[in-house]
Symmetry: C2
Subunit: 291 residues, 2 copies
């Protein structure tokens, strides 16, 4: 997905939040804001939104020396989600269709996205879970995902945020685990999950976990490590969580299921869905359409 | 009031709204956004927020050739408020304290501020009115305003927005009109009231109406016409409506009553009030404190 003009005010809001996170020094905050405005000014709109986010955060790290400003918040949301886990796990097991319930809950967890909303409250996560269990969901897409998983021999599950990945675990538990690799980011970027978050969430005990090699809130393949690029190329199915992965991979010629909550008007318009809706979007390859 | 770092995302949001208002051409919109980002980048934070708004809107006029993008919306809100007028007028007359009720309604009208919120709905104006009639209001400030009006021989009433000024009229009707001059902006800026709005609102039939000579969403004295500057200097009391006038005049050495609804977190913090609250703030001169 390209960057829309409508993304710009959101970037600038994020850059203010970032400046406040990394320093208390008013002069440094001002400098960071001016640098972000400059980057936005020379933005290439054909890039996806996470490309600018990456640059903005890199510059903030360089200027402030703070490498992981969201660390505390990531730990907090991992713990919060782990506390919910037993109840959600029981919910999945007792439901009429555990796979669909796990899909819904994994998407519900996508509310924990500090790029969209930094001051997220616990209640909003609870609300997102309740809503995801009841909300309309494309049943055909659920079936297509189920079938694709069964047919695939190598599945990459691109994780999104800390905390959220605990809810992904519900779904991962139901997958043919030997076929699955879970992907985290290569270095801190917003509240995106890293290897230590996957460990904290218990995912490293379930499936192979690899990292993308990049500090991008999404998956810009050219920024990823050669090792990850090979894995991506080799996978016959990708399950991609969250807006950032949609923004960076929606035009990729790959069989991908995007699982996300549409949290911003730009994404909702690009997808053609309501803001707040839960979505499974199948992207088929142009070359070989899966039967 | 100086510009806070927190004002920047709001500027950029406004610049996007402005770009959409003045043109349908995506390239022109992009150019306008880039220009606004550039202006924000080189911003002098010791200037008040309306100074940047003025520059941004001037550049948009130059680039797009559209001189008054909010004209239609201004006409709409004038009509909307005029339709409410008879009912509000009766409310004032029948109230226990017509002056205080008129003050409350004048402040309620300050919700009609497209700088803060462009997509304002009629219901929000109704809600603002209901809230203003019930909300806590500094009674001592009401008394101080009443006394100051009585004592003053020359009063400047700085209007704010189209539509809103119809609610100001309720208060103007109760003032010693021969002492009052109502002030509109010198040229189009956001939805700020101009001479034709004052005429439409019926204010030109009540009191002298002059313009500031500037296209600033507030009152930056150095930008105003020499004629207005003289009038400002000569007035012994200023009643200043809205956030923009507060932002530009809060540090002026002048006896001013600011009547405003605090609609943004930055202003609320600067004043030390709740967002959404209605406020009368008295600014006394340093030289001679009114007894």
């Amino acid at each position: 997905m390209k960057t829309y003009l409508e993304c710009i005010p959101c970037f600038i809001r994020q850059s203010l939040e970032l400046a406040r996170m990394v320093t208390d020094d008013p002069d440094l905050r001002e400098r960071l804001m001016r640098e972000s405005l400059k980057m936005a000014q020379s933005l290439d709109f054909s890039d996806s939104p996470p490309a600018l986010a990456q640059k903005m955060h890199r510059r903030a790290r360089e200027i402030s020396g703070v490498s992981d400003p969201y660390l505390e918040a990531k730990i907090k949301f991992n713990r919060f989600a782990l506390n919910l886990y037993p109840e959600l796990d029981a919910m999945v097991r007792q439901s009429r269709d555990p796979f669909e319930t796990a899909v819904r809950l994994a998407i519900a967890g996508n509310i924990i996205d500090f790029g969209v909303k930094l001051a997220l409250k616990d209640e909003e996560v609870h609300h997102s879970i309740e809503q995801a269990l009841e909300a309309p969901l494309d049943r055909d897409a659920v079936t297509a995902l189920r079938d694709a998983i069964e047919r695939s021999s190598s599945i990459l599950y691109l994780g999104d945020n800390a905390g959220e990945i605990v809810l992904d675990r519900l779904l991962i538990e139901l997958l043919p685990r030997h076929k699955v690799a879970f992907v985290v980011k290569g270095a801190p970027i917003i509240n995106d999950a890293l290897m230590e978050d996957a460990r904290e969430a218990g995912i490293t005990d379930l499936v192979e976990v690899i990292d993308s090699g990049a500090a991008v809130p999404g998956t810009i393949l050219s920024e990823c490590s050669p090792g990850f690029q090979e894995r991506f190329e080799a996978a016959d199915l990708v399950i991609a969580k969250g807006q950032g992965n949609y923004e960076t991979l929606s035009e990729e010629d790959k069989h991908i299921f995007f699982l996300l909550k549409a949290k911003c008007p730009v994404i909702a318009q690009d997808i053609g869905c309501e803001i707040g809706s839960i979505n499974i979007l199948e992207k088929r390859t142009a070359s070989k359409v899966p039967s």
